[in-house]
């Protein structure tokens, strides 16, 4: 599928079909190559779960070269080969028991399943440095809370749908909480500011 659609007059959004992990790998590859190409009319390139959004500068028109690059067959692999991060987690989150009940497994199994998988950073979104991790075991797929918490503490390790994530800062949030890490995911004074980049791999280690 080579189609893209407008999102307003500034967004060109291309989507990729297929299973999430494959579509995301292609979206990341497309995002990396569009970012590397440096088009003067482009303000930002933002990968999503299975999309890449090219955001134009205000008032700018997309050049033919940009449109061709967006429509082109993306490279087979993303530029980022994927660093492996081990993140220590204290698995005493408030929702472990509720997740176990929803999936009819033991709380211990929830933790064991979450800590035994290897995840890939699909994209960073929502808040500065918030990683959307794919690779969550199917037995842990649960819906978001029907009503979000007013405050989720920074460092909270959580799951929702097909994703696991880590809250980099205190924020309202609707994901289900498994535990906590004291790893700092985002620090604007650091280079790079975001610890995790799309394509990086993550393993959670019981603390």
């Amino acid at each position: 599928m080579t189609g893209w659609v407008w999102q307003g007059e500034r967004g060109l959004l291309r989507s990729f079909d297929g299973p999430l992990a494959e579509a995301n790998a292609v979206a990341r590859a497309a995002s990396d190559s569009l970012r590397a190409a440096v088009f003067p009319e482009v303000a930002d390139v933002v990968p999503g779960a299975r999309t890449v959004l090219v955001e134009l500068r205000p008032g700018a028109e997309p050049s033919d070269a940009l449109v061709r690059a967006i429509e082109a067959e993306p490279p087979k692999a993303a530029i980022n080969a994927g660093r492996l991060h081990e993140i220590a987690v204290k698995y005493d989150g408030e929702d472990v028991a509720a997740i176990a009940a929803l999936r009819r497994i033991r709380s211990e199994d929830v933790i064991e399943l979450h800590a035994s998988a290897e995840y890939t950073v699909a994209f960073i979104g929502f808040q500065p440095g918030f990683p959307y991790l794919i690779g969550l075991p199917e037995q842990l797929v649960v819906p978001r809370l029907s009503s979000p918490r007013v405050k989720v503490e920074w460092g909270s390790v959580a799951i929702a749908g097909e994703y696991s994530g880590i809250y980099p800062s205190d924020t309202p949030g609707g994901w289900r909480l498994l535990g906590y890490t004291d790893t700092v995911l985002f620090d604007p004074a650091r280079t790079p500011a975001a610890l995790l980049a799309p394509g990086d791999r993550v393993r959670f280690v019981r603390a």
């Binding site: 307003g8 967004g11 390139v45 028109e61 960073i124 979104g125 929502f126 604007p188």
Partner: protein, 319 residues
């Protein structure tokens, strides 16, 4: 030069034209909700268009100037006064108040205070100071991302803000019409998730009035009106969203995403308000009405160019 915040107002923040190009690490652009008003205020005091200034919401701050300064107010008109204390008295009844000009630069002497009260028109106003407000730059911008606590400054009582130097500015005024209307018309481009909406539902967005709810801030403005019907649940695989996107959760009521929005969103989007009209949305208040009109990418770009051409022409020196 230093400004002293005597009273902060409900939400007064330092903003410039925002940080662009950090969406892939989850950093929103932030920046002035009405970038044209910010540019105008800066031009009036002789700053670069993108210098940092103070954006205030619904009611403004009271700020004492410890040094001589040239300042300007722009955006929505607020009840604003210049206070000169009488023989050093600390009592409010002993101060001599004069109305502060709007859309025109003026001088303040050391020891004078500007008191910005409630709005007399729309939601947001701007105070620029010659030299610009100097807080640390994060990713090339002094803008405040309120929700993530990133960059800039949310003004608090007792804060001291540094500004750049300079009092050598000509007196200027801006001949611009107010961006605020209690019934605001916003042009929007339909899509991209048309298939999630029941046929006829998108037309409803463009034919019915929507009321601005009290749930309106720099992240987004929740609207209330004819609900759009969804063919399925509104959850989509999260994707990058642009400022101006109208996302629709399960209740069918649109949320207009603004400068501090999350960089990705997992709800279907029915349309996107064009860039040239977002500064109009910046001034709507709870209880106001917005109506949407269909636009196209070409028309939206032309509208932006018109704004670019017209804003500077509106600024003139005053003898």
């Amino acid at each position: 030069m230093t400004l002293l915040v005597m009273h902060a107002g409900p939400l007064s923040t330092v903003q410039d034209l925002g940080r662009i190009g950090f969406g892939s690490i989850g950093v929103a652009p932030s920046g002035a909700m009405d970038p044209w008003a910010l540019r105008t205020a800066n031009a009036l005091v002789g700053n670069d268009d993108g210098a940092a200034a103070i954006e205030f919401t619904m009611s403004g701050p009271t700020i004492a100037f410890e040094d001589d300064a040239v300042v300007a107010l722009s955006g929505s008109r607020f009840d604003a006064a210049i206070l000169r204390s009488v023989s050093g008295s600390a009592f409010e009844r002993d101060v001599d108040a004069a109305p502060a000009p709007h859309q025109m630069s003026f001088r303040l002497r050391a020891g004078e205070t500007i008191r910005i009260g409630p709005t007399l028109s729309g939601a947001r106003g701007y105070l620029a100071v010659r030299g610009g407000v100097e807080v640390d730059e994060i990713f090339g911008s002094r803008s405040t991302q309120v929700a993530a606590g990133l960059g800039g400054r949310v003004l608090k009582q007792g804060d001291r803000l540094a500004t750049g130097a300079g009092v050598d500015a000509p007196t200027r005024r801006a001949r611009t019409t107010s961006a605020y209307k209690s019934e605001q018309r916003l042009r929007a481009i339909p899509g991209p998730q048309r298939e999630i909406f029941v046929a006829g539902s998108i037309e409803r967005l463009f034919s019915s009035p929507y009321k601005v709810t009290t749930n309106a801030d720099r992240t987004g403005i929740r609207l209330e009106g004819a609900a759009m019907e969804l063919t399925t649940i509104p959850d989509i695989d999260p994707e990058g969203v642009v400022v101006g996107a109208l996302q629709v959760p399960a209740d069918g009521q649109p949320i207009l995403l603004c400068n501090d929005r999350p960089t990705t969103g997992g709800y279907a989007k029915v349309a996107t308000v064009i860039g040239a009209d977002m500064h109009l949305a910046a001034h709507v208040k709870p209880g106001d009405t917005v109506r949407f009109e269909v636009s196209t990418p070409d028309a939206a770009r032309a509208a932006w160019r018109d704004l670019e051409d017209s804003w500077r022409a509106a600024i003139e020196d005053v003898e």
